[in-house]
């Protein structure tokens, strides 16, 4: 195991994310968003009528809703002009729903994912892998033993055709309706790609399944949809990774994630987001947890120009629980506005939110979170903890928690601290022979350890490596 770790460490992570591929596509919509665009996407995907109807309704809602501009201290979205976005690019792949063997992919796409280390990770630690390039999933594979147990892991477009009833019932209906927010509506209109995961009753998928999203073209938008249904007593860990090379025009990522956690089921959703620093990352992620269900959100937000992401959990059944662990790292020019939302709608529900943020070189991080305890959610408890670390005086670190408590038999606690990197800590490490940069890096690694602990080793190494990259050359 250790030699593998070393190998992963040795890989040049920066080069792995920053390379560009020549844009080559089989089909690309015009810039901008009209009913025609939506019809063309739906037709190209050969979708059933009901899906087209949902798309068109979402488009209507998108056009009616105003841009969110009145949130206190929200990131600047004025540059986000949907008419400048290419909403749909189908890469030049022969097999429409993706292939299940890396060697069947065109060389430049295979090369992309090789550089990102995805096939390597699949061999070592994963139950299944999906890889999306631009708007379509180009690779999808799952180990046979899970298939035999009835586990489904396929791309979302395929699911619309093959598992129509399940999708029709769950897709943007009760969890994330398009009316939720403007970008959810946009997503509902032009979504493409993403994963569908179905885990039958009492089935434990003990190795994580993974999806990797890559935007390669300039000025494109990626709108993948992820739908996870975990039936009673089942267990699954889903990991997503995201990256894109940097262009001068902006890119938009507006994904949608819906998770249904059945009775006593357990779903863990981990994200390592490393979009290039011209990407606007405006996602809607939500889970509904039934009786005794357990939802875990683990998020590392490293990339993007601006992120507005608040994974939310609705604790619907008695004894359901939620655990959020988020880490945000904002460097130069980045505004990472992230947090968590939890609705306690049943008795004996529990939530814990642990947020860590680091800002440096003029970056801004903000924890924005909402905990709502409904009337009747007796004996519920929630604990929120936010820690922020600042490197320099150009950076900003905000904390904006909101708590709404409509029930008296509860235990609610929120705590936050902000500090600078301690001179004493650095001095101590220096006295042990580390230079200033290494000392700071080490302190940061220690600061984010609670997050890296939760990830499989490959991802933890990746996250640490990304943090190291961000830290390089910082002389705070």
């Amino acid at each position: 195991m250790s030699s593998q770790q070393d190998e992963l460490k040795e890989t040049d992570t920066e080069a792995r994310f920053e390379f560009k591929k020549e844009e080559k596509s089989a089909f690309q919509t015009e810039k901008g968003l009209t009913e025609e665009t939506v019809r063309v996407i739906s037709e190209d995907k050969d979708e059933p009528e009901w899906m087209l109807e949902r798309r068109l309704r979402a488009l209507e809602q998108f056009q009616e809703m105003p841009m969110p501009t009145d949130w206190p201290a929200q990131p600047d979205l004025s540059e986000v002009d949907v008419d400048e976005i290419i909403p749909y690019i189908r890469p030049d792949v022969d097999v429409r729903a993706g292939v299940d063997d890396w060697t069947e992919l065109p060389d430049e796409i295979k090369d992309t994912f090789d550089k990102l280390g995805i096939p390597e990770a699949e061999k070592n630690a994963l139950s299944g892998v999906g890889a999306q390039y631009e708007s379509e999933v180009v690779y999808q594979n799952m180990q046979e033993r899970w298939e035999e147990k009835g586990v489904i892991f396929c791309n979302m477009d395929e699911a619309v055709q093959e598992h129509e009833e399940l999708v029709r019932e769950h897709f943007m209906t009760k969890c994330v309706p398009p009316s939720d927010n403007k970008f959810a509506a946009l997503h509902g209109a032009i979504w493409s790609g993403g994963s569908f995961v179905y885990v039958p009753e009492n089935t434990t998928v003990d190795m994580p399944v993974q999806a990797y999203f890559r935007m390669n073209s300039e000025g494109m938008g990626q709108f993948e949809h992820t739908l996870i249904i975990a039936e009673e007593g089942s267990e699954v860990h889903y990991i997503e990774g995201c990256s894109a090379p940097k262009y001068s025009a902006f890119n938009l990522h507006s994904g949608g994630v819906e998770v249904f956690v059945g009775e006593d089921a357990h779903v863990q959703y981990s994200t390592v987001q490393n979009w290039s620093k011209n990407t606007y990352n405006l996602n809607t992620k939500r889970a509904i947890a039934e009786k005794g269900g357990r939802m875990e959100w683990i998020s590392g937000s490293m990339g993007s120009k601006a992120t507005m992401l608040y994974p939310s959990t609705i604790l619907k059944g008695r004894g359901a629980s939620d655990n959020h662990i988020t880490i945000a790292f904002a460097g130069e020019g980045q505004d990472i506005d992230t947090g968590a939302k939890v609705y306690h709608n049943a008795p004996e529900t529990k939530s814990t939110i642990e947020s860590k943020s680091i800002s440096k070189d003029g970056g801004r991080t903000n924890y924005r979170g909402l905990v709502h305890i409904a009337d009747g959610a007796e004996n519920s408890s929630t604990a929120v903890e936010c820690d922020a670390l600042m490197f320099d005086n150009e950076s900003t670190s905000d904390t904006m928690p909101y708590m709404e408590i409509n029930e008296s038999k509860v235990d609610v606690a929120h705590e936050a601290t902000v500090g600078k990197i301690g001179d004493e800590d650095i001095f101590y490490l220096q006295s042990r022979g580390l230079d200033d940069d290494d000392a700071k890096q080490m302190i940061v690694s220690g600061f984010i350890e609670p997050i890296t602990e939760e990830l499989p080793i490959e991802y933890a190494v990746e996250l640490n490596r990304l943090v190291e990259l961000e830290m390089e050359g910082s002389l705070g």
């Binding site: 709502h372 600042m390 950076s395 008296s408 606690a413 936050a416 902000v418």
Partner: protein
């Protein structure tokens, strides 16, 4: 956020108020400017989350609440020491006109929002407190009773270099017979000079048909200290904002808040501090109890500016729920733009601890008494922060009254 036009309000009304009080020309102008600002000014910001507006100020019917020409109050001002000036504005213009003109509206912009503009345009009572350089006074009290449908009060405290003063104000319902809803508006501004120290305690215990708006703001100079104690017990709906701007190096501020809501009372309590200079310190401590169907909303803001090196800033808020139908919303915010900062905040909501209750009961104290003891105990950490005995006794008494 659209504003309401109040028909009974006109330039004439404002001129009449100013004339009756024989005010200087500059104040009339300030009032008239405030009046015209009403057309564009907005109601104070209220927190809104998906599906929930924390306080609905727009529902207030200002047309029926505001009766500008029939304001009436009984106010007793007592001063322990004649070195300090404690006067209604009308009696202070002759001698201290320049000081008032220089400071009025300098800390709290009359056109800050719709309700401040309304208040400045119409105020008929209030107090001017002037503490000259080096003067040290302990017991200034201003006890007011409200006798009319609406009452607008304006207080200005000017504490010069190296002065020190403790001021206690209270507002209660008076004898005036008014049926139906009432409106009390209270603006307080404090200009604290270099090395000045001001402690300002405020106790609001109006009746349950009154809507109260209160905004208190201090400008704290170099090495200055302004400590606030904001106690709210009365009113059907209270919107209270206590704010300190730490503008001088080494400035300090403490904001202590207490509230106790019963029946359908609604408290919207806000404490904010802006660190704008080096080595400044702030401590925000609020504790509140909610019974019956009472509801509380709390927002605390610690804003550390870019130049606020070596800042220390702390915030704690705790709410105790005595009833199943009470509701508590809280939002403690940190805005940090300087990394040389030590800041923390915390907020909790909970009920009386079952084990504590059991312990007291096992000592043969009946459960009602035991609960009351624990509630009184809950307030102790904030009572301890109150340095003035008289004020602490008042608060304790009001807590005790509510527990019967």
């Amino acid at each position: 956020m659209s504003t309401q036009a109040i028909e009974s309000l006109s330039e004439d009304t404002v001129r009449r108020i100013a004339e009756e009080r024989d005010e200087p020309e500059w104040l009339l102008e300030t009032r008239l400017n405030a009046l015209s600002a009403l057309e564009t000014a907005e109601l104070p910001d209220v927190i809104q989350t998906p599906g929930r507006r924390w306080t609905d100020l727009e529902a207030l019917d200002f047309e029926s609440l505001v009766d500008p020409l029939n304001q009436s109050d009984t106010t007793e001002r007592s001063v322990g020491d004649d070195e300090v000036v404690v006067l209604p504005f009308t009696e202070a213009f002759d001698e201290y006109g320049d000081v008032i003109e220089a400071n009025f509206g300098s800390v709290l912009d009359p056109e800050h929002n719709y309700l401040t503009a309304l208040s400045v345009a119409l105020f008929t009572t209030g107090t001017f407190v002037y503490v000259p350089e080096g003067v040290d006074v302990e017991d200034v009290t201003v006890r007011a009773e409200m006798n009319s449908r609406s009452l607008f009060s304006q207080t200005l405290v000017v504490a010069e270099e190296s002065s020190s003063v403790t001021i206690l104000e209270s507002i209660e319902p008076g004898d005036g017979e008014v049926d139906g809803d009432r409106y009390f508006s209270n603006l307080v501004e404090i200009a604290a000079g270099e090395n000045a120290s001001v402690q300002f305690g405020s106790l609001q215990n109006l009746d349950d048909e009154t809507y109260t708006y209160s905004l208190k703001r201090a400008d704290v100079g170099v090495y200055g200290t302004v400590d606030w104690i904001e106690s709210n017990f009365g009113s059907k709906l209270t919107r209270s904002d206590v704010e300190s701007e730490l503008n001088g190096d080494g400035a300090e501020s403490q904001i202590v808040g207490t509230f106790f809501g019963t029946e359908d009372q609604h408290f919207d309590i806000n404490a904010r501090v802006w660190h704008q200079a080096e080595h400044t310190t702030a401590d925000l401590v609020t504790r509140g109890v909610l019974d019956d169907v009472a509801r509380s909303v709390y927002e605390g803001v610690q804003d550390v500016g870019n130049d606020a090196w070596n800042t220390s800033s702390y915030q704690r808020e705790n709410t105790l729920m005595l009833s199943d139908d009470a509701e508590a919303d809280a939002s403690p915010k940190l805005i940090i733009n300087n990394h040389d900062t030590e800041a923390s905040h915390s907020a909790t909501v909970g009920q009386v601890d079952a084990e504590d209750l059991f312990y007291l009961e096992s000592r043969s104290i009946d459960s009602h008494t035991a609960r009351n003891m624990l509630v009184e105990g809950f307030f102790v950490p904030v009572l301890e922060e109150i340095a003035v005995d008289e004020f602490r006794d008042d608060v304790e008494e009001l807590v005790f009254e509510r527990l019967q």
